[in-house]
């Protein structure tokens, strides 16, 4: 295989691919379950239509989330890519190696996910029948042919996400690429800024313009509002994170050297962390919008929707949020794994393991707060026109206890992607990690 040794060098960083592989596994489970159940309830047109919408959302999320995690994994390998370029790997060979690697990760994850998805779909169909949403006669019908489109979606998005990350390291002059990798200078190009602003502006415009649509159509379009805003936020991430640090610095200084170090680290990592902001903000905003639509309706009208329908709506949302949360944890963990050397160097410079972890906890705090603020913004932009049209109010309502639970859940997701891997990586003495 022409990509041989370069692909082998990428593959040697096996930890770097745990994140993308598990995200792809979850993606395949979600796709396989929704599509199989959709096929199984053929006789119930209304439910079938709803499930088609579910499956479509799952496809969009897969494209975005698989792309983001794979992108983060390849971005962490910029140093090796630069070295390979210096000693003779052409840009084309790097791209081939990256594409091969991304595809190789996707195939087993896709097959395993498809099979697990059959199990999940079977259980799900049972619950749908129990809730009286699916006809009692609906029979679970696994469809082997579904494996092909699922694998296709995974392989293509995995490869595209990886290739986007490889554009610059593959094409850059090796001297520049090595310097980039060594300094990890956050690059914030005009293209990125322009694209980010365009998506955010597009999301806001779309949200305002769909306010007058019928509820069903508005619901579908609201997804695109959120996707546009989240990707936009991800593109603007380096700028957003550095602004967040500038604003929060006095507060962080209260934590002394630990806080300052955490602020500096987040600034340096701002580009890598932006990738993680996309799924994180998406998960939180998605949950917030769904919860707020139901709770605002109850709050304003004093009426609750039909329980079975609300259950379906909530369970679907829970699945997507879980999916996005898995992607967020994976992207964050990929970033942490990529900096194990830096963490070890902190240890060598005299920081105890507790101190190193305290720095990581501080960083997690910065990411959590930034993510929550952004998610509140995204949810607000999506919600306000929606509830204003439907209920005539400008202020969405969420019960305080739900809000608190959401904040805690977000912090837990961020901690699972940062503090947990850092704790695992710092278990061994630092000197072994530095070479």
């Amino acid at each position: 295989m022409r990509a041989g040794i370069a692909a082998q060098a990428l593959r040697a960083h096996r930890w770097a691919f745990v994140g993308p592989a598990s995200t792809q596994l979850v993606a395949a489970v979600v796709l396989s379950a929704t599509l199989t159940v959709q096929v199984s309830v053929d006789g119930a047109p209304e439910l079938s239509e709803m499930l088609t919408a579910f499956a479509l959302i799952a496809v969009y999320l897969t494209i975005l989330l698989v792309g983001v995690t794979m992108n983060a994994a390849i971005a962490q390998q910029a140093r090796d890519v630069a070295l390979l370029r210096a000693v003779g790997a052409t840009p084309g060979r790097i791209r081939r190696a990256v594409a091969v690697e991304a595809a190789v990760v996707a195939v087993p994850a896709g097959i395993a996910g498809y099979l697990l998805g059959l199990l999940a779909g079977w259980a799900w169909l049972g619950t749908l029948v129990d809730h009286g949403l699916a006809p009692a006669g609906a029979r679970f019908t696994p469809e082997p042919l579904l494996l092909a489109p699922i694998l296709g979606i995974l392989v293509v998005t995995s490869t595209v996400g990886a290739l986007i990350a490889a554009v610059r390291p593959a094409r850059a002059r090796p001297a520049i690429a090595l310097a980039d990798a060594a300094t990890r200078r956050p690059r914030f190009t005009a293209v990125r800024l322009g694209l980010g602003l365009l998506l955010v502006a597009g999301g806001v415009t779309l949200s305002v313009s769909i306010a007058d649509l019928a509820a069903d159509a508005a619901d579908d379009a609201a997804l695109f509002v959120m996707l546009a805003l989240c990707v936009g936020v991800g593109l603007l991430g380096p700028f957003v994170l550095r602004s967040a640090i500038a604003v929060g610095r006095p507060l962080l200084a209260l934590a002394g050297g630990t806080g300052r170090l955490a602020a500096d680290n987040v600034a340096v990592l701002s580009r890598a962390l932006s990738g993680a902001l996309v799924p994180l903000v998406l998960a939180v905003a998605f949950a917030a919008v769904k919860v707020a639509v139901h709770s605002t309706t109850t709050h304003v009208t004093g009426r609750t929707g039909p329980a079975a329908e609300a259950w379906l709506d909530y369970s679907g949302t829970a699945v997507y949020c879980l999916f996005a949360a898995v992607a967020a944890v994976n992207t964050l963990a990929t970033v942490v794994v990529g900096r194990r050397r830096d963490l070890a160097l902190l240890g060598l410079a005299g920081a105890t393991r507790g101190r190193v972890l305290a720095v990581v906890v501080c960083e997690a705090g910065i990411v959590t707060v930034t993510g929550l603020v952004l998610a509140a913004g995204v949810a607000g932009v999506t919600l306000v026109p929606m509830v204003h049209t439907a209920l005539g109010t400008w202020t969405p309502y969420v019960p305080p206890s739900t809000l608190a639970a959401g904040v805690l859940a977000t912090a837990a997701v961020v901690a699972a992607g940062t503090v947990l891997p850092a704790a695992l990586l710092t278990r061994r003495p630092p000197i072994g990690q530095v070479g």
Partner: protein
């Protein structure tokens, strides 16, 4: 066709809109010469080496490498030229630490460069004092051993020219001396050309010719004197 290994003509390099890191540098390095490039930190030594080696592109002037004008060469063609005709040793981060010694040495060949047989590989590992260590992951080696792996990788394709950026910068004097003697031996034995950046007069003393840079300009070009005279020259240049 002129196949002088390295020729630069009016070379200049500017980073962003800052001052020129390299300015109006012209030089030619004939085959079989060991050149040392010296100067203060930030004087443009690495920038010069990168431009000469085709790892970076100059903002002004032209560069010829192994007889080919690389100034306008497309990236893929330039990469192939580097892979087949040039070798590199950097100060640090030279190797893919997850691969074995042998795989690192074979990288240029595996990336499509000149073929290397098992006998040639074994001979090269012996020559750099790494005989029998081919299957060890480089992550397990000492700094000096790693730098010898890097030298072996640079020499294995029998390139026309080897570029080295402070190859002994991270090594103790004894280990550094071994690495320099390896480069010197390649010049003597195979007529290889070496362009080496260093700020250590003892390292530079292994060379035939000394280039001095100051603020990006070439301010000295002489036969290499002994180490103490080099120190004196450096003091004057700074």
């Amino acid at each position: 066709m002129d196949d002088t290994p390295v020729v630069a003509d009016g070379l200049g390099r500017r980073y962003g809109s800052r001052l020129w890191a390299l300015r109006e540098v012209s030089l030619a390095v004939p085959a079989g010469q060991f050149v040392a490039v010296m100067g203060a930190t930030g004087s443009g030594k690495s920038t010069l080496l990168h431009c000469l080696a085709g790892l970076d592109r100059p903002t002004a002037g032209r560069v010829r490498l192994a007889g080919r004008d690389i100034t306008r060469l497309r990236e893929a063609a330039l990469t192939r030229l580097r892979r087949d005709r040039a070798g590199f040793v950097f100060q640090s981060y030279n190797l893919l630490s997850t691969l074995t010694v042998a795989r690192n040495v074979l990288l240029p060949a595996r990336l499509g460069g000149p073929r290397v047989g098992p006998a040639a590989l074994a001979a090269m590992l012996d020559a750099v004092g790494l005989g029998g260590l081919g299957d060890r992951p480089v992550g397990e080696l000492s700094g000096g051993q790693r730098q010898r792996v890097a030298v072996a990788r640079a020499l294995i394709t029998r390139p026309a020219v080897v570029f080295a950026d402070e190859p002994t910068g991270a090594l103790d004097p004894a280990t550094g001396g071994q690495v320099l003697r390896l480069l010197r031996a390649a010049v003597e034995r195979d007529g290889m050309t070496v362009v080496m950046v260093s700020h250590d007069p003892l390292a530079a003393a292994h060379s035939d010719r000394l280039l001095l840079l100051r603020e990006g300009r070439l301010v000295g070009d002489t036969r290499t004197p002994d180490a103490s005279s080099i120190s004196a020259l450096l003091a004057v240049a700074a």
